[in-house]
Symmetry: C2
């Protein structure tokens, strides 16, 4: 797979996913503002990937800070962090990664500014490397829920493209595939931004993993026909009670899976778990531009001019509909997640 | 509303719905083959409307038949009927309307060919006029299920555009609106062909009825937030046990409505009811071109080249998920439908 986000020659190189699958193009962000735009405009998306991009954005911004004294340097870096934290509200990995960079900055305060700048790059790189390692661990744990010959339904893109690499939900799929299981993925196209059609189908086809694309409204019918054995999705935020915010439409998939007795798993690294939030109804849900609904890919109009729309980017799936949460530390029931995480 | 299908100056004039909402354009079909293309290519769509178009197509084709003797004339008209019957497999109104024209032809066999030709036009016009009358009757019965201030979720387009005029599901909405109820429609965009975005939103906006467009995967979330009070959809075929074939995604809406305790109604004229078929699993489901899924409006590519897709145009909602079936004769429970219809 092509890298989603990387530190390259003093810039943050981001794969512009808004152009996939037509074009594989990279943007070299040379200032933190451009990293912010890349997050807002969905050039980079997926909770783990925007966390990585934000960490690298903080490191990138820090390089350009002129301050020679720590307090002024910190103040400038915090302003960069605040800017990046304001890009998107729902995925907690963004805030987790930015907080991690701020904590690292505090820990480095006794060191000379040039050394701090260098070590912030190292820290951002560590966020990326650890993300890939967590995905692979998730894959090892999670692949056990996929049986040989099964078909997995997924929604949106929780793949290599949503992470530093390998993927969360699709990392689990990759691990099952790599273990020799004959599997197939059914990908919801995931309107309005079509991450399933544009990204999930593309990345699985790149790896030669069988994939069938459907419109979002076909999932229930396939379930009723016995053609889906397990659902696996990613997450943007998991609250202490095991509720999960994820791409709009995830909730419907979970209700449909429940109605058909099909197991429904969420795969996410522990950086997605927000123990400070008791339940999903507290999660801020991003409302995006109506044009995402009235147009396809920003170009093709599909609705009358002036049509009213709703466009929440995420929804919340309650813990009761979730069979298990696959993390790098193992698979947990939603109800036991908080306890297991606090123990570690 | 503009007429969907009409007999005009010796031609069948069809509103080309594939161009809506950008352009309001009509095609004058001057031979029955063009009527067949109009049905296959979805210039005219919606179970009642394709029934009307097919009836008019039979009448149109009959005008051009050169035979002067009844047996030869009948043979030619039957060939036209067979051609039109092969255009789409799921909606039973198509076969119902064609059978009605064939029965009318039989009844006219003692008359001179020119008189038969004229009376076939009259019969096709009656199919149209009766459809509008049935829709209005359905509206009178059905509007009682919509309370003042309620929001109605609908899927696909079961409106004036799907019928001779006024609509089935949207006819019920219109009747409630005309009765002074302050209501709102939430329209599923209805991928892949986007009849909700392109047609339902457009026709309701034309009438000034408040409508909010959503992607299909948002319906469950709105239900969970208490923002939908009732679901009303159309039907392409209703079997003797009360199972309903309708646009792909209808089944998911019904499961979601059931899970949230929201009433789910189907509005359809009795020509949609196929008492010869015991249950929905026998209904032939049309599989359409994969390009409808991989592209939007035939133009905008949204998926990788060569991507596998499913594209069933319809699904079947079992009777147990249906609160009531609204017909021109009243509202019936799915389980009592066959008995009530046989009585009449």
């Amino acid at each position: 797979m092509v890298p989603t986000v990387e530190w390259k020659d003093g810039a943050v190189r981001i794969l512009d996913q808004s152009r996939l699958p037509d074009k594989v193009e990279f943007v070299d962000c040379r200032d933190y503002e451009t990293v912010g735009i890349a997050i807002k405009e969905l050039w980079v998306r997926g909770a783990p990937a925007i966390g990585i991009a934000a960490a690298m954005g903080v490191a990138l911004g820090a390089q350009a800070v002129k301050a020679v004294e720590f307090d002024a340097f910190r103040k400038a870096v915090w302003a960069i962090a605040d800017y990046l934290a304001a890009t998107r509200p729902t995925a907690v990995n963004l805030f987790w990664a930015i907080d991690r960079m701020k904590r690292r900055l505090e820990a480095l305060q006794a060191e000379p500014i040039p050394a701090i700048k260098q070590k912030l790059i190292v820290e951002a790189q560590a966020v990326l490397d650890e993300d890939i390692a967590m995905n692979k661990a998730m894959g090892r744990h999670g692949s056990t829920v996929i049986g040989d010959g099964q078909t997995i339904l997924t929604h949106c893109n929780a793949g290599a493209l949503a992470t530093g690499g390998y993927g969360t939900a699709l990392g689990v799929v990759r691990a099952a595939w790599d273990a020799g299981k004959k599997i197939r993925v059914v990908a919801d196209e995931t309107r309005p931004v079509l991450q399933g059609a544009r990204l999930t189908a593309w990345e699985l086809m790149q790896d030669g993993i069988p994939v069938t694309l459907i419109t979002d409204n076909m999932a229930g019918t396939l379930m009723s026909q016995g053609r889906i054995q397990v659902c696996i999705v990613g997450a943007d935020r998991i609250t202490a009670n095991g509720d999960v915010a994820n791409k709009i439409g995830t909730y419907s998939v979970a209700v449909l899976a429940h109605a058909h007795g099909i197991p429904f798993y969420v795969a996410a690294p522990s950086s997605t778990i927000d123990l400070s939030m008791p339940s999903g109804d507290k999660i801020p849900i991003e409302q995006r531009d109506p044009r995402e609904v009235t147009h396809v890919r920003g170009r093709e109009s599909i609705a009358p001019d002036g049509c009213e729309v709703f466009n929440p980017a995420f929804d919340v799936t309650p813990a009761r509909l979730i069979t298990g949460i696959i993390t790098e530390k193992g698979i947990f029931k939603p109800s036991e997640l908080a306890e297991k995480m606090r123990l570690r």
